[in-house]
Amino acid sequence: MAWTKNVLRVNLAAGTCMQEPLNMDWARDYLGQRGLGTKYFLAEVDPKVDPFAPENKLIFVTGPLTGTMAATGGRYSVVTKGPLTGAIACSNSGGYFGAELKFAGWDMVIFEGTAPKPVYLLITDGKAELVDAAHLWGKTVWETEETIKKQHQDPQIRVASIGHAGEIGVLYAGIVNDLHRAAGRSGVGAVMGSKNLKAVAVRGTRTDAYQIANPDAFFTAVDAGKKALAANGVTGQGLPTYGTQVLMNVINELGALPTRNHRDVQFESAQAISGEAMHEKRPTDGKANLVTNGACFGCTIACGRISRMDPGHFTIKDKPQYQGASGGLEYEAAWALGAANGVSDLEALTYANFLCNEHGFDPISFGATVGAAMELYDLGILTKEEVGFELPFGSTEAVVKLAELTATGEGFGKVIGLGSKRLCAKYGRPELSMTVKGQEFPAYDGRGLQGMGLAYATSNRGACHLRGYMVSPEVLGIPIKMEPQATEGKPAMLKAFQDLTAVVDSSGLCLFTTFAWGLSDIQPQIQGACEGDWSEDRLLLVGERIWNLEREFNLAAGLTAKDDNLPPRLMKEPAKTGPQKGAVSKLDVMLPEYYQLRGWTPEGVPTAETRTRLGV
């Protein structure tokens, strides 16, 4: 069995750590990670709970393929109710932490209550204890990892922690493991901070924690999967060479790169902040921004960026801690910190990205919120006096300064830390917030790519590209090419992507494998590792079940079909330039069909028949 069948329940208020058996009936219905964590969460938490109340819970959960030789098998998810959205939050991370948790013998850790004072959880195989974190509170993610390893004289401990942003409740604070891999979105780090939980530190050395059901079948499928990843142009060439940043110029040329708070759909300086630019030698020191690519646990793609800044750049001239190599810009971060604000200084964006990793906050939501603030400033609604400095579109200095202030919660950083929705509401212009369900858009314009617009509107965790990546069919032609402006067939394709994605997110694998893998590549890997029947039909049903379970949570939390929407800008203001010029979102054409395909009422509620069919 690829599950350890052990759940660690940590009551932070009482200071207790209890072992309990995994509910295997639920594992059979929800697989693991995102699905299984959500099932536990719904069973235990009132959807109406205040995200920062002790009654909210925080679940770290792995999948059956986490900690196996299946390519990319190292993922874990964090499930909670998100403070940014008030919806289900489920953030997924790579690095080495998730596999270590499995090696220690745990599928899942459930945190409940609030600790009376800062603590961290230390797991050493079967032993778990809460340790005083007074000396870590206020420290960065980077300092926290280093301190915990030193303190326990064990450099092989893996750490997932929050930085200052999580401690002070930045609404999009993330949880960062292995220095720069993050469960980044929806504010899961802020919930962790509200619980006075600074870090989870794990060392796993058990060899008997879980087994592979059928090793021969497993390795046959895993080897075939690795060959497919290596042979595919995206996973074998594009991602290792340019990372996700391979998309910057492509999406810009297609006219779907949101720019200056979605006023524009093309950024005139996209090239300067692209994956290609990261390879170019700088005129200042003759070195490239990119040092090398790096992999997460078990990953044979290795899309991660390891960057080193120009040590003479104004942002880090006197700061040696940023002059070494660290996690570099991914596409979403480069877009949010750059194009969304009209900023094109690659080095400055790298610095802001370092700050996001170091202090633990989501560069997408942060960058997009700065973009909204710049628009408010441009309209004269926000003033220099209020912000403390000038905030025009294109200001490198402003982005850098706001990243520093948001990390520490000082000055106007406090307002930026609330996210775009609350910022725009505060200044009386809610329509300028480029969000869905309170979460900021990532790097694709919902006018330029109609399917992505529908994906954003219907994503259960608010605007997100990772719940149904319609860029694959609409841009890359995977699995089939769909025209960006077409609406026909998009709801059905999106539903298929959403359900498949839910399976991948519940397995322990990385979603990026799906550039090369279909369900027929993934299914035999799951089947080889897990006993029981894991046919493709069954897995798709699992995916659909997970999607509907998340929907049920959101409906019970008070969200309605009205929240499956897009900002008026995307519905009414046509794209100004490029191949998608003149386009607005045709969400109203696609949404009713989507509900119907989902087996939901026109009000977006699963019908009794759907509920029965899925057993939700």
Partner: protein, 159 residues
């Protein structure tokens, strides 16, 4: 012909497939803590470096062992630990200048890379980037030589 593991840090991405393959080969588990090859991340240099036993010809672990529990595998040149003989005294772990032989508390024995016997190293097969290769033991420098050879300018027009 004997073969050697050849490790090229420039190609390593830190994915740890090698560590899992080693742990599986020897413990039927993916737990990287049990691997005999380790990948080290030098984070601030942006470098990943795989490292394991080089199978010294005059092996200090062999010389240090008081019970002759480390023997030469003549087929591969590997120095292999005879588990039934090993008493877990750990003297070899002190003698090895490179730290590549280590105690395993759960078995009470030491373990080190044995090149996986006649079927060849599992780490090499698992490595997706060619950072670990299994090459002619007499020619581990061949790749570097080739690289330098390529830089030699023999075009008379430019001499």
């Amino acid at each position: 012909m004997q073969k050697s593991l050849h490790l090229d840090p420039n190609k390593c991405t830190g994915c740890l497939q090698c560590e899992m393959a080693c742990a599986w080969e020897n413990h039927r588990s993916f737990t990287t803590a049990k691997s005999r090859i380790k990948v080290f991340a030098f984070h601030h240099e942006g470098r990943f470096v795989p490292y394991t036993c080089t199978q010294c010809d005059e092996a200090w672990c062999v010389l240090a062992c008081p019970v002759d529990a480390i023997r030469l595998d003549p087929a591969t040149g590997a120095k292999i630990v005879l588990e039934p003989t090993c008493v877990g005294c750990k003297v070899c772990t002190i003698a090895c200048p490179f730290g590549t032989i280590n105690y395993v508390a759960s078995t009470g024995k030491v373990q080190k890379c044995d090149l996986c016997g006649d079927h060849g190293p599992a780490c090499e097969k698992a490595c997706p980037t060619g950072a670990i290769t299994y090459v002619d033991a007499d020619w581990t420098g061949l790749g570097k030589m080739r690289q330098w050879a390529g830089k030699t300018d023999t075009n008379p027009a430019t001499v």
